[in-house]
Symmetry: C2
Subunit: 294 residues, 2 copies
């Protein structure tokens, strides 16, 4: 299902042309992206959206903007010689649209934007990406700046995968891909070659918890640690804007549910804070492998 | 996905050749099947498995057998001129295999049975069906005896389907079929054209409850009654032995979750106790429609 053109080449960072702006939401991801770009000798501008952000971002050239300050964003990018913009971090606190005050830059862009966007079925993220491209910048994915965010096929963290769980890796990955094609979810759990859970609106963590409860009730049986969580990208997903992710919390949830391990799609699922994730996998005895999508 | 040969022809009951034996588990289904066969003027033998069964079965020629009494079952069938056997009703109380005492009939069949079954990956039901066929009887599905158990395409019960929910009917049905092909589950919920939940090991009722909880938390939004539960058969399912079913309890769970209605696959999903189901649909304002599988 994954063609060479769809699959980002994790080994090859984007050529550093001009400065990189990082539109930063919450969490550790913007810090990782900024640090990777800085380590490559690249000029970095971090533009944090008002609201909570990781304090470590203050180590970089940081500006804080309000929702609607598109003109300010443009000015900042122009002054710093920005050519590419990466979106990183989640935005859990949605703006109150009535309180957004569009600045002159936003008002100038609005007619072209509305023309391009109204009538489409873009997601909020798709809208932001169109806006950025309309401003003349290239949108890049965090994994293009920090290739270490994704894994090549093979062992990623924790103990080696037991051979008898290879079937569950394949089964769960195939199911996760199938429900991704339905635009329903990105994750599935397989136990003894049978699907135990499929993710939709409840999210990955709630699904893992459900399997743990079914196991505790004796409705899904295995001995010791068993079963595999697979997570992969939807075939139609724009990975620059929205890449599935796992992290230490995912590993801990999997261990609590007494599942044996995690399979992620190689090159198309982020490992947020790899050192912390690897430590959690080691501590809880949870294997993490990356495999090519089915 | 459904070819003409896979789809049972609900309008045409099996030709009544010889007596019909009904191997009866729990619930109302065996009563419905026995009553339908009797109404067709057919000789009926009800063989109830020890354990709870519907008292209304006492109105028919009834014998109670223990697990392992295969010889007795054969004698009974031979004496009544049985040519076909239908399995109906659930068996929630699994036998303790150590306490099963095989009678002579079972012991005689065992070598041939073991030869045919060991090494295969039959389910318990598939095993029973093979055993029956090994004994020389034809296995028929409850819907072949009582065609009213399944619905032709169109409105089935409750208020008319609102036009703006046609998209959710199609979306949920397509998802349910896709996860059936994965052998994961048989049901899905769609809200505003997006999949809200997919069934796996937790079962249909738990999945419906989950959507209700996500709605109550504001994580899946709709106004009033919205969203559709779809249920359909797996493409590879042997419908004679194991047909997906809905009933009054399904309708009530859907109404409690404030979902708008139910779509079942025409001809391939049973409506257990249709009058009671229709009454529940009417009382709770829940539409039930049958549609051809995608």
């Amino acid at each position: 299902m994954t063609s060479a053109s769809q699959r980002p080449d994790a080994a090859k960072p984007a050529a550093p042309v001009g400065a990189l702006a990082i539109l930063a939401g919450e969490g550790a991801l913007p810090v990782q992206v900024a640090a990777a770009a800085a380590a490559q000798g690249r000029k970095v501008l971090v533009v944090a959206l008002e609201g909570p952000f990781d304090e470590r971002l203050r180590a970089f050239d940081l500006e804080v903007v309000k929702w609607g300050q598109i003109g300010l964003l443009q000015d900042l990018c122009k002054r710093r010689g920005v050519t590419e913009i990466a979106l990183a971090g989640s935005v859990t606190k949605r703006p109150d649209f009535r309180s957004i005050r569009l600045d002159m830059g936003a008002v100038r862009l609005l007619p072209r934007l509305l023309k391009g966007v109204v009538g489409g079925d873009d997601s909020a993220l798709g809208f932001v990406a169109k806006l950025i491209e309309e401003m003349g910048y290239r949108v890049v994915g965090p994994y293009e700046v920090a290739p270490d965010l994704v894994a090549e096929g093979g062992a990623v963290a924790g103990p080696p995968m037991p051979n008898d769980l290879a079937e569950d890796v394949v089964c769960a990955m195939r199911a996760a891909k199938a429900i991704g094609a339905l635009d329903a979810g990105q994750a599935a759990v397989s136990v003894s070659g049978r699907i135990a859970a499929l993710e939709a609106a409840e999210g990955t963590d709630a699904m893992i918890h459900r399997v743990g409860a079914l196991h505790a009730d004796g409705r899904v049986k295995w001995r010791g640690r068993g079963g595999v969580l697979a997570k992969c990208a939807k075939p139609q997903q724009d990975l620059r804007l929205d890449m599935p992710a796992i992290g230490a919390l995912t590993v801990e949830a999997v261990a609590r549910a007494e599942l044996a391990g995690i399979a992620i799609e190689a090159g198309r699922v982020m490992i947020v804070d790899r050192a912390e994730t690897a430590a959690a996998a080691e501590r809880t005895g949870t294997f993490v492998v990356a495999v090519d999508g089915p």
